[in-house]
Amino acid sequence: MIFSKFNVSFLFVILFLSSCSSMNVTEETVYSGDVKTVQASTNNEDISYDSQAVFANATIYFDFDKTNLTSKSLQTLKSVVEALDDNSQLNVVLAGHADERGTREYNLALGQRRADAVSQYLILNGVESNRIITKSYGEERPIANGQDEESYAKNRRVEIN
């Protein structure tokens, strides 16, 4: 496993032998630095965009560094709740996103809070929590690539699928 003994090719020896008073004498061997490439098998359980999510498909937008729902979002969410009420088989994945400003890990947490805010609204309005999965992509999956407020606003979102 990971923590087993390490490849012996990393053997490198540094000898510090002091000979005359102020001269450093050293000996060392270059190490190989071998690297193995791994392929990640993506076993993505995302619900496909066009199969199951016919009714509850929606996107909710947020202000910069904010996770609260705007009045416009509430309108959208009302129809999502209706769709979920009408289709009891339907489950939703809430994927939170952030714009590219700020650090990636903070944005991952921000995206999660946005997904959680939507999740809380759905639960408060009668959707069972076991029908909801929340997750975040942080700033990793922008839908607009520009470096301007218009693009940023499109990227600060929760996708409901």
Binding site: M1, I2, F3, F6, N7, S9, F10, F12, I14, S22, M23, N24, V25, T26, E27, E28, T29, V30, Y31, S32, G33, D34, V35, K36, T37, V38, Q39, A40, S41, T42, N43, N44, E45, D46, D65, E100, R101, G102, T103, R104, E105, Y106, L108, A109, L110, Q112, R113, D116, K135, S136, Y137, G138, E140, R141, N145, G146, Q147
Partner: protein, 414 residues
């Protein structure tokens, strides 16, 4: 590490491959003459080039070439010290190549004496590595600080696929550690530089993996139903601090890698993430939104039930902090107006120093000797890696095309 005054006038970069931009603020560089190594002309010029670039990139060296010199001694007895003294050369480096091994010597011109004699045994097809070892020996001899040319940098690239890459500290010799269709973020070295931890979205949700660099063996750090992110190794390699989302909110935990026990560190309804360990492992710094905007906090691990202490106060966005290796201060991402910049604060000063002036600089990572910071920049929407040294030199790393981001500097490998 000595504090070097940083002149904060950085003009725009000009590019080719590796661009070295030494600002006017650089104090008296060490002036070093490197003579061609005897015994293998082709290898010598390859090594000379790499060594010279390595030293110059540190911002602390001026390198003379043979053509600039008054005399070229071919052995110790023939050195005319006055010929070097007159050009204000501080140190002379000469050497021999024998069968791929290099013996080099460093002479102190003022003392008129040999101060170092070193042998580096090469191995086939690792000439860059050989050059980096020689550079580090020269650097250490002259500055008294270990060199970082033989260290490595991890980073993530995105083209059609996401790739976790490892390269030499000069950006050359790139190799792929992991390839995935889904995002990869937050790579982090184990203290012995044999393993890496990172966040991969390959399962459809952020999860932390640990991978052995040489063998490719990997495993999830912790099995959990919710997201996990932001891994950071403790200095002794026994623990991994992580951000867990199992409590309905981002909270920081410490994972014991041997028995997989979890210890919760934070408990607050706002975001807590981006943990990093102090050099001795006694403190953890993290980013928290508990004051209403992201700020840096510190937790003393030696105290029972310690309260997080806020340590950043300037501006409304300070995040992703890391400690300088001598624990004299921290480096972090700071927003001033609308720009995100890399900033530094020494603990004994009550102001911050911004190290960069672009719009969207992030992910600073500090070299193991504390002298260089590598970070991610956006140039025309494109991600690239850049570096700034505490002596005021700036450079960009020549990495492959595609968006490059999330650099992480290894420990010493020599």
């Amino acid at each position: 590490m000595k504090k070097v005054f940083l002149l904060l006038i950085f003009s725009n970069f000009i590019f080719s491959e590796l661009v070295l931009e030494i600002t006017e603020g650089t104090e008296d560089p060490y002036r070093v003459a490197i003579l061609p190594f005897k015994g293998d002309e082709r290898l010598s010029s390859e090594l000379e080039n790499i060594i010279s670039n390595n030293l110059k990139r540190s911002g602390e060296f001026y390198v003379f070439k043979a053509i600039d010199l008054l005399s070229i001694p071919d052995n110790e007895e023939n050195i005319v010290f006055n010929d070097f003294k007159i050009l204000n050369v501080d140190y002379l480096v000469m050497g021999n190549i024998n069968n791929g091994d290099v013996v080099y010597e460093v002479y102190d011109i003022r003392k008129r004496s040999k101060v170092r004699s070193s042998t580096v045994f090469g191995i086939p097809n690792k000439n860059r590595q050989l050059a980096h070892y020689i550079s580090d020996g020269i650097y250490e001899e002259i500055t008294g600080i270990p060199g970082i040319s033989s260290t490595k940098i991890l980073y993530v690239t995105q083209e059609k696929k996401y790739r976790l890459m490892v390269a030499d500290a000069d950006g050359e010799n790139e190799q792929i550690l992991l390839e995935s269709k889904e995002p990869i973020i937050s790579p982090s070295w184990s203290p012995d530089s044999r393993q890496v931890a990172y966040v991969s979205f390959e399962t459809g949700m952020a999860k932390v993996f640990i991978q052995n660099i040489a063998t490719g063996e990997r495993e999830v750090a912790l099995v959990n139903n919710s997201q996990i992110s932001s891994p950071a190794w403790s200095p002794d390699g026994k623990f991994l601090s992580l951000t867990l989302y199992q409590d309905g909110n981002a909270e920081i935990y410490i994972l014991n890698l041997r028995n997989k026990n979890l210890t919760r560190l934070t408990n607050h309804y706002s975001i807590d993430t981006e943990s990093s360990w102090s050099p001795k492992g006694s403190k953890i710094m993290f980013t928290s939104g508990r004051s209403g905007s992201p700020q840096l906090y510190e937790l003393d691990l030696k105290k029972f039930n310690a309260k997080p202490k806020r340590i950043s106060f300037e501006g409304n966005y300070n995040a992703k902090g890391s400690y300088l290796p001598d624990n004299e201060g921290i480096v972090f991402v700071h927003r001033s107006n609308t720009n995100f910049q890399i900033a530094m604060k020494y603990f004994d000063e009550n102001f911050i120093r911004t190290l960069t002036i672009a719009k969207m600089d992030e992910s600073p990572s500090i070299s193991p000797n504390g002298n260089v910071i590598v970070y991610a920049i956006k140039d025309d929407g494109m991600g690239l890696l850049a570096g700034v040294t505490l002596s005021g030199a700036k450079f960009r790393l020549p990495t492959t095309k595609g968006a490059v981001r999330e650099p992480s500097w290894s420990g010493y490998l020599r």
